[in-house]
Each structure stands twice: as C-alpha cells, then as structure tokens.
Amino acid sequence: MPFDRNQMAARLAADVPEGWCVNLGIGIPTLVANHVPAEREVIFQSENGVIGMGPAPAKGAEDPWLINAGKQLITLVKGASFVGHADSFAMIRGGHIDLCVLGAFEVAENGDLANWATGENDTAPAVGGAMDLAAGAKRVWVVMEHTTKDGRPKLVEKCSYPLTGLRCIRRVYTNLAVIDVLPEKGFVLRDLAPGVTFEEVQAKSGAKLHLN
C-alpha cells in the first residue's frame, strides 16, 4: 500500500534526529512537524524569522501576530526566538539550517530541483524562499507524490521545468519509496512503502533507480 500524505510525512519525520534545525515548505512538508514525537527536540524555523515554532494554537489562544511562512497561525515552543528577514535568511543562506523539506514538480538524478515555475503559461511564477533554501540549507529533502496526477514521473533524468536549485536534493520521500540522490550515482533506493516493489518504483520513475 503506497503511503498517503500523512504517512509520507511520518516516514520522513522518522529520519529527523534530535537537535536539527528544520525548515518545512508549504504542503506535505508542513505535515512533518506533526510526526516528530514531542520528546524528540527538533527546532522548526520559518522564513519570516521564527525559530522554535510549535503546533497550531488552540481555539481562543491564537495570537494574530504570530504566523509561519505559510501564513498559518502558530505557537512558540520554549526556547524560541525571533529575528527579522535579513537575519532569518542569513541563517538559511549561511548554511545553518540542518534540513529543509520541500515539495517538487521534478527532481533530477543529479539532484537538480524544479518546484517554483511550470514555465508554460506561468506568467508570474512565485518563488518565495525556495531558491534561498535550495541553495543554502545543509541538506534538502523532497517529499512528493511519485508521479503527477496523470501518471508522469517526477523523478527524471533532467528537469523539464525551470530549476529552483542545482544539484541540491539529497533525498526524496514519495508515496512509494525513499530514494537517496547521490552525487556520482543518481537515484538509489533506500526504502519502500509497504507492499511496493522495486520494479514498480522503477517503472514509475523517469530515470534509472539503483539498488545501492
């Protein structure tokens, strides 16, 4: 059975060790925070200068001055701090974020990432902080469906969409598998969703998948 969105997030969360400072993109990446057990201290950073984000606030306890990069209301955990945008992106671009988790349109076997513009008909693509995170975080993992809605592979030999970052993706979590992206080698299978086979993952990928 392939993973659903929450299972993908949970599978990724299982690989995040205590102490990492993690930035989560919008969409499935945001769900990752829900699956890190409370006793494992992971520091969630948000582009708008929040270091130490907690879960969504309880009803009635919302502070409208406190949002994340997805514009959602959040809380702070103990140990949290605030900085402005220049300092927040200094943290991101200076290599101080241990892990950034992003969604993607495509990931290429050399680690190239396309996740901001479709190129066609996209008159005004919105990049936000994606290029900063792709270029700056210590490691960038992608979590996404293995294929597009109409079944086209999103793991590819070469991205067809405009790039967000070059050679920046280290690992991909999909509904079918966990796949490392290694500099010399390309896509290397690391783990499979329950009941999914290597052959199925390979068939749904647009580039060669290595076993190790």
Partner: protein, 231 residues
C-alpha cells in the same frame, strides 16, 4: 525636543512624490502597515515602484493601490496569493512590470542598501532563470550571482510600539522586512499600535533604532483586528 510623532496618516505621507520607489513591510498580515497603504492611495502618488514580499490579495491594500493604477512596477518574491486577481489581470494586460526576486535576496538587497553595500554575491538563484542577465562569479569553486542594493525613496513599516525618537519595538513575527526597510529609504514612516514615553522601551527590545525613522503615526487597529478571524 525630538518628536517624530505626527497626528495623522495624511501628515505621515505628506510629500511622497510620483515615481517614488516604496518599500512596504510585512509578511502576511503581520507587520503590514495597512493604514499607511490606504493612506498612500489617498495621497495619490503615482507611477510608483513598490517592493514587498507579496503582490496583494483581493481588492484591498496593495492590491487596491495597483488596481487604481498607481503602480508601474512591483518587485517581490511571491506574486501569488489566495486572491491574486488584481495583480494577475494587470500583469496579463501588460500594465504592470514584475521583477521576481528570491525572498532572501530581496531581504539582503534591502539590507545592503541600508548598510552602504552597493552589491554582493549570493549562491541563491545561480544557474536558474532568475539569474538571467546577472553577473556571476566563482568563489572557491561555486558559482554566485551578483545582486545589487535596493534603495528606496520611501519605506512604510509597521510596529507594535514606538516612542517620540522613532524607536520601534516589534511583536511576534512582526519584524520580518520592517527593520531592513526602515534602513533603506530616504523617508521612513512607521505605523504603530502604541506610543510609549521616551525611556519606556527596553534598549535591547528596540528592533529599529529611531535614527532610521522619520515619522511615526499611531493607528489603533482596534480589538477586532486582534481576533484571528478578522485577519
């Protein structure tokens, strides 16, 4: 006696000229100087270049400023929003010039302008469409893009508290672009929720020293604004 507090939004925006470059603070609704944006619409300056993170939503605020034809060019990282109809219509009709800048590059370009740095290098966007036409250069085997300072005529910022020297204290995630924008403009105008006596703000809590601020206007957003459903 130094007193940067002015009595009205109109006074705060007095003298903003046609053709100005205007920095507008805020990320989401937080730290966004709504009353000053409305005031700028009233004030009437046109042919503006505005720089901010988002291109506005619905038909209020920045979206309305564009809708009434005051904006020539927008520099932002994220033109999309929950309701980007105004931006998209104007952009499609060729009535609005767009410069997309990665969010961190936007922030650093504004800081650079405030800090006397005309240009700097960043790895962000290297090898992508957003580096097209820009100088690149290798340092230690990696490619970097040269980005230039983004200086402005006017900065509209928002803070929680201010004193008559113009010192600003931010609340929650309300700092975001505001401190650097306050540094990067000839005329910095701050909309604040509370005015405090000089000496009441903690020296370490001041997020923007008054040196950077020219005018402060108090705008009570009211209790309603504090309710999340009104955001």
């Amino acid at each position: 006696m130094i007193n940067k507090i002015v009595a009205s939004v109109a006074e705060a925006l007095d003298g903003v000229k046609d053709g100005s470059t205007v920095l507008i603070g805020g990320f989401g609704a937080v730290g966004q100087p709504d009353a000053l944006i409305e005031g700028l619409i009233e004030q009437g300056a046109k042919n503006l270049t505005i720089a901010l993170n988002n291109a506005g939503s619905g038909h209020v605020g920045v979206a309305r400023l564009m809708e009434v034809g005051r904006v020539r060019k927008i520099i932002c990282s994220f033109p999309r929003s929950s309701d980007p109809v105004v931006f998209e219509t104007l952009y499609r009709e060729g009535k609005l010039e767009l410069e997309i800048t990665p969010q961190g590059t936007l922030a650093e370009r504004i800081r650079a302008a405030g800090a006397g740095i005309p240009a700097f290098y960043t790895a962000t966007a290297a090898g992508t469409l957003l580096a097209r036409g820009k100088e690149t250069r290798e340092f230690d085997g990696r490619e970097y893009v040269m980005e230039k300072a983004l200086k402005a005529d006017v900065a509209l910022v928002e803070a929680w508290e201010a004193d008559r020297w113009g010192n600003l204290v931010y609340r929650g995630s309300g700092a975001n672009f505001n401190p650097i924008m306050a540094m990067a403009a000839e005329l910095t105008v701050a909309q604040v929720q509370h005015i405090r006596e000089l000496g009441e703000l903690h020296p370490h809590m001041v997020g923007t020293p008054g040196v950077y601020v020219n005018r402060v206007v108090q705008v009570d957003r009211g209790g309603d604004w504090l309710k999340p459903e009104a955001r």
